[in-house]
Amino acid sequence: MSQSAIKAAPVKVAGVDRRERPSPGERASRLLEQSWRPVALLLACFAVWWVIAAAELVEPYLVPSPGATLDVLTGKADYIWQHSWVTTYETLLGFLIAVVVGVFAAVIMVYSATVEKTLYPILLFAQVVPKIAIAPLFVVWLGFGIAPKILIAVLIAFFPVVISMVTGLKAVDPEMLQLSSTMGASPWQTFVKIRMPASLPHLFSGLKVAVTLAVTGAVVGEFVGANEGLGYVILQANGNLDTPMLFAGLLVMSLIGVVLFVLVEIAEKLLLPWHASRRETGVTTTY
């Protein structure tokens, strides 16, 4: 990175396309161009919701008006904030543990066929067991604290991480590995300089799935037994037929999922600029 003493002049030569960085204005207009459709759709949904509620097509206690939901969100902001934080905390911790454990498991599975054969059936088993069904057991074992929620989040987010990382590590060009051995590279060098970076795009697609699943995991844990968190808020609201609060809880929950997803995407763009730029332009390389 720093060793480039001579900066490449932005020359245009056949076969090479060096794109200039877009100006802030261009970027803003590009963002607007990309996002107006989903924003419009979202607004349309809210409009439909508002019409249904305002015309009282459905009983208000079944579908609260957007206004009533907003009142709850602002009027009970402290309450919602406090419980949202708990859920976010459980989700993030669960996600991070899943990433660390998942990446580690993937690496040893790729480097040892024996470990892979031993571990894979167990992984698959852990994946197919409905997490909702084992959640009560975790509560029995670990109590009502945040531990069972984190554990369920880990369990649910772990699988996509392992699968994507294993795929990524195995997708390395075999010729690249042969080249590496002619260079006299140690297995560690090959891993750090070739295999690991090459697997990151795969890993990130798994991370995006994992982070949204982690929210589900945390909330499922809260449903089974908790006295805090958004899952608890929703259960309480449900019991009291407090649909505005229920809707507010749902909105915030989705918002957490979306924000975490976007954060992973931003991390991907920052860590893998080469991958992002390649995806934007489409694969134009001709070998």
Partner: protein, 281 residues
């Protein structure tokens, strides 16, 4: 050591004794009675059989043959990426027992790391070998200049054309000044014009570095334009049909060479051999 068979005895070129490589009497590459057999699920496949070949230091040898005749297998044997079932492979007079580090390898696909710029892809060779950083950088700069990559050092592989990518791969293979350069259809995926250009450049680089080159190719004219000798192989089980001495001077102008009688004679002869081989198939 005996002189390579099927060849007229020639005085070794002046280029042979550069960079302390093996002396002219020890072949840079020696392949002795080599056979390679693979075991697949339901049958044994003989990829190569009875292969004998000596390559002098500084010599350029091209290998042509029909698809699946084991040309690539032969290069992998020399690099130590594959083990022969029987026979011996010698590199610099030393028996090949595992992946060798005193070679440069170029594949048909450039096989570049897409997150690294052209320069950093070339420097991978230096990093893996733990070469002194200053030396690696200097060598990379020299190679970038000689291969016409100047101005593209900081471009990522996907921003480069196929020809440029292959130049990067060539620089990476030459960074550590290997005594032997192995090339497996390096220009096979390039358009005809770029290919001619790369051929001219490879001829110049070979003359300048004095490296021994083993080039696998599908193109008969490419083989004859570049090589001192062309090894013609037959289809499965792959074996050497004939070794042709092209008999052209080391320095070759592309258009001029194409028109020379030696060149036309060699290509016609090889075309005949390969035609006969595929007719038997």
């Amino acid at each position: 050591m005996t002189m390579p068979r099927n060849t007229t005895v020639r005085e070794p070129d002046v280029t042979n004794d550069r960079q302390g490589g093996p002396s002219a009497t020890t072949p840079a590459v020696g392949i002795k009675d080599v056979a390679v057999r693979f075991r697949t699920k339901n049958r044994d496949v003989t990829a190569l059989t009875d292969v004998d070949l000596d390559v002098r230091a500084g010599e350029f040898v091209a290998i042509v043959g029909p698809s699946g005749c084991g040309k690539s297998t032969l290069l992998k044997l020399v690099a130590g990426l594959l083990k022969p079932s029987t026979g011996d492979v010698l590199l610099g007079g030393e028996r090949v027992r595992g992946p060798r580090h005193d070679i440069g390898y170029v594949f048909q696909r450039a096989a570049l790391l897409e997150w690294r710029s052209a320069r950093r892809n070339i420097l991978l060779q230096a990093e893996m070998r733990k070469m002194p950083a200053e030396l690696g950088r200097r060598r990379a700069d020299e190679l970038i200049a000689t291969t016409g990559l100047s101005g593209f050092e900081d471009a990522l592989p996907h921003e480069l054309s196929g020809g440029m990518q292959q130049r990067v791969a060539l620089c990476r293979a030459l960074l550590h000044e290997p005594p032997v350069l192995l090339m497996d259809e390096p220009f096979g995926a390039l358009d005809a014009l770029t290919r001619e250009q790369m051929n001219t450049e490879l001829n110049r680089i070979w003359r300048e570095t004095g490296t021994t080159v083993l080039l696998v190719t599908h193109s008969i004219s490419e083989a004859c334009y570049l090589a001192d000798r062309v090894v013609v192989m037959s289809a499965r089980p792959g074996t050497i049909t004939e070794i042709i001495d092209v008999g052209l001077p080391a320095e070759r102008d592309y258009t001029e060479t194409m028109g020379r009688p030696e060149f036309r004679e060699a290509t016609t002869h090889i075309r005949g051999l390969l035609g006969a081989a595929s007719a038997q198939d």
